[in-house]
């Protein structure tokens, strides 16, 4: 299994979500919120070249766009409700680029709808954490059963809500 930015995002979001996603039980296509998010990501910063793919042996990731002048990765998100997940996703990208030999890369999360942005940098501690997270993701996905429902208030907005709670 190749770990993607989405895996990292879901790891911090909900382990059950991650398990389903990793086994291709996908529900994202049923959600209007996801569709809106995708649309925002595709229809903003149109002058930039979107979607840069990187494929490695164990990883695969897509950058929303990259600014050569400032050496910055940009990630476009709809709202900052789940800011922590976005930060970790971006840290993962910076970490992977560093491993591939791109040094001093910075990250920015853009919230075009909120007209806000957040700067992200990778520390040594973060790298350790990410290494751990990647190991845990592999363990988690290899579990036979999906993890239990987490019962959080944000479940209601998740595209997996119906699958988990029905």
């Amino acid at each position: 299994m190749k770990i993607t930015g989405t895996h990292i995002n879901y790891y911090f979001h909900c382990k059950r979500h991650l398990w389903f996603f990793a086994h291709h039980i996908l529900m994202e296509h049923t959600s209007e919120l996801v569709a809106i998010g995708k649309f925002i990501s595709e229809s903003t910063y149109e002058r930039k070249q979107h979607e840069l793919h990187f494929v490695e042996e164990d990883f695969e990731f897509v950058l929303d766009f990259f600014d050569k002048n400032t050496n910055t990765i940009h990630e476009i998100k709809k709202t900052n409700k789940m800011e922590e997940l976005h930060i970790w996703q971006l840290k993962f990208y910076i970490y992977r680029l560093k491993e591939l030999g791109f040094h001093n890369v910075k990250g920015i999360i853009d919230y075009p709808k909120l007209k806000r942005l957040i700067k992200v940098e990778l520390t040594e501690k973060d790298e350790e954490k990410l290494n751990e997270v990647i190991k845990e993701i592999h363990l988690l996905v290899n579990q036979k059963k999906p993890p239990k429902v987490i019962r959080k208030s944000y479940c209601r907005k998740c595209s997996y809500f119906e699958l988990c709670y029905v």
Binding site: H23, H24, I25, L26, H29, T30, K144, K145, P146, F161, E162, L163, Y165, V166
Partner: protein, 370 residues
């Protein structure tokens, strides 16, 4: 909320720009949509004409058809049902596939012919393996099959109770079905289960002459071909329900050919037969009671042949209208605290099955809770 489109008028279905449009056939003289399909004998056309780029000819026709053309916004389509005679090309089918819209086709007599099932976009190897494992393991297969039957019987009893509370004495039938429901627990094989289901259903159908206010000649279920109006209604209703269930299965990762109650892969997508079993009493049977008891459908909506009875076009239209309304009826879901349609109930049945197969939660079939 996406809708189902049922097309009875003969005509051309095509992709126009980035959406779908329908052009009824025009009778040149009367300028009205003609009922008959203009027949062209393809064998007599010289080969060169086959090779001509059709676009030019189409452009000419375009202006004529523009008046009667109807656009069907592609984003609003759940699935398309063809009851008339329609023409379409690969460009149209490619577009359907790309937009993930299944197309169900019924023949001249209203029998289900088949489905254009777009390329699967929702595939999970893990789930497929789990589906097969649950089929191969006798005990696991029986667990799921039993739950389908429990749902089916329970919902049949609910229907009977409804009429029992309305001055119709159905207590004999209710007792019989309740008894059958109890027997399900002790069943040891799928064949035995089918036996119980068969006799329970026979009994259930016998009660219909009490439920239905019209004098009907309905003794037993007969298909291939249906022999009287009630049988015709059941056959048509069930085939509609199969396609609806199939459409829902298509939208998630379940494989429609691996089933537990019915033997897999015989002619049809048999998992849709399994799941439909649970919903027949709620959807099809209730439509039939309503149509007959409210005199919405009448004797002349049927066609009688030597050994069969079928709905005619008008009858089918009436049924389809009721059917579509039934599917979009909403109820409040207790667990989710959301208003959902009957069609969504079918989707949830798929979700529950997925969870059962992946060992997340035991499958509890849908049982009418109101």
């Amino acid at each position: 909320m996406k809708k189902n489109f049922y097309i009875f008028t003969n005509g051309i279905l095509k992709r126009k720009d980035n959406t779908i449009c329908f052009e009824p056939f025009i009778n040149q003289e009367t300028q009205k949509p003609s009922k008959l399909l203009e027949q062209t004998d393809l064998t007599n056309i010289p080969e060169e004409e086959f090779l001509i780029d059709n676009d030019e000819i189409e452009d000419e026709k375009e202006n004529q058809n523009a008046k009667t053309r109807k656009f069907i916004p592609v984003e609003s389509i759940d699935s398309i049902y063809c009851f008339g005679e329609h023409r379409f090309n690969t460009k149209f089918l490619n577009f359907l596939s790309q937009s993930q819209i299944p197309l169900h086709i019924f023949n001249y007599y209203g029998f289900y012919t088949g489905t254009f099932y777009p390329r699967e976009t929702q595939v999970s190897g893990k789930l497929l393996i789990a589906q097969v494992q649950h089929f191969l393991d006798e005990e696991k297969r029986l667990t799921i099959a039993k739950e389908f039957i429990r749902g089916s019987l329970f919902n049949m009893i609910k229907n009977l109770q409804y009429y029992n509370n309305r001055q119709k004495d159905l207590s004999y039938f209710i007792d019989y079905l309740t008894n059958a429901l109890k027997k399900v627990d002790e069943v040891k094989s799928v064949e035995e289960l089918m036996g119980i289901e068969g006799s329970a259903r026979k009994n259930y159908y016998e009660s219909w002459h009490l439920i239905i206010n019209q004098p009907i000649d309905f003794q037993k279920r007969e298909k291939q071909p249906p022999s009287n109006p009630v049988n015709a209604l059941i056959s048509f209703g069930n085939s509609l329900l199969y396609t609806t269930v199939l459409g829902e299965i298509y939208r998630n990762q379940l494989n429609p050919t691996i089933s537990y109650l019915h033997t897999p892969g015989e002619r049809r997508f048999s998992l849709s037969l399994d799941i439909a079993e649970v919903f027949k009493p709620l959807i099809v049977d209730r439509i039939i009671f309503a149509l007959l008891n409210k005199n919405i459908i009448k004797q002349d909506d049927f066609e009688f042949h030597l050994n069969s009875c079928l709905l005619n076009e008008n009858g089918r239209k009436i049924f389809v209208k009721e059917y579509d309304e039934k599917l979009s009826t909403t109820i409040k879901h207790r667990k989710l605290n959301r208003s959902i349609s009957y069609q969504t109930l079918i989707r949830y049945e798929c979700y529950k099955l997925i969870k059962h197969l992946l060992d997340a939660e035991e499958y509890q079939s849908f049982k009418i809770w109101w």
